[in-house]
Symmetry: C2
Subunit: 149 residues, 2 copies
């Protein structure tokens, strides 16, 4: 298995764990120098915090661990296309590469909606790689919402 | 002085205090049932957290105080047009009205950039009132960046 797939597998585990806690199953890991520095699932319900998306959680945790705002050189793996909030935070944190799983035509802010990185005012644009382990990520979400109904 | 101006004056005080701490001078207050529930300036430097914009801080604080994710019925006053990250968080939190001061053609995500609330996929659109105490808010920012140079 390629290294990138390995990190996405870790993000998928975080997504699964989030789903089993009743959270929307999205997971993320933040990688620095080839190692996972922070990992999280969606925690909006657990923390009563609409900002506690997996991506925000790993950015905040990594910044706390490193004692710095910017995560230059870091790569972020997330199972779902980031929303506008997370896309902006990823840019603000100067993340180098964004790998995401499933597309999110309804809520995504990278390749859908406001397409944050395509705005001429966006100061830092990460390299974006989409459709990494897309099927597994989408399957997790589909199953979660089917069980909800 | 109109009531709305009063709340914006409180937000301006938070912005001033942020500036005196070396943070970009932006401030916000979150109002519920006519009372200020949470207030904050920008704290990105103090907390080494790119997500610690004034708006995110008051949303997280209010949610913590109320023990709920959604702040239905809350009004948010912020001295600068929210960025894409904050615009999305304001929508996710179901904030009723957004009052902002200065426009932000470079970083704003409400009336500039991705115009989050104008996206057909945006689930909750707050009422938006702009240019509240605009001159004072813009002046604070201008002075801050002049002194930096």
């Amino acid at each position: 298995m390629a290294k990138n797939d390995g990190f996405m597998t870790e993000a998928l585990q975080e997504a699964e764990q989030a789903g089993s806690r009743g959270e929307i199953p999205v997971g993320a890991v933040l990688v620095m120098d080839g190692k996972i520095l922070a990992r999280s699932g969606n925690r909006t319900r657990a923390e009563n915090d609409v900002t506690a998306h997996a991506e925000i959680n790993v950015i905040r945790e990594a910044s706390r661990l490193l004692g710095q705002e910017r995560l230059t050189g870091a790569d972020l793996y997330v199972t779902l296309e980031p929303c506008a909030m997370c896309a902006a935070a990823i840019s603000f944190a100067r993340i180098r590469r964004l790998y995401y799983g499933a597309e999110d035509p309804k809520g995504g802010g990278v390749d859908h909606g406001g397409r944050f990185y395509a705005q001429p005012t966006c100061h830092h644009v990460p390299e974006v790689y989409s459709a990494i382990a897309e099927r597994q990520a989408a399957e997790l979400l589909k199953r979660f919402f089917q069980e909800k109904r």
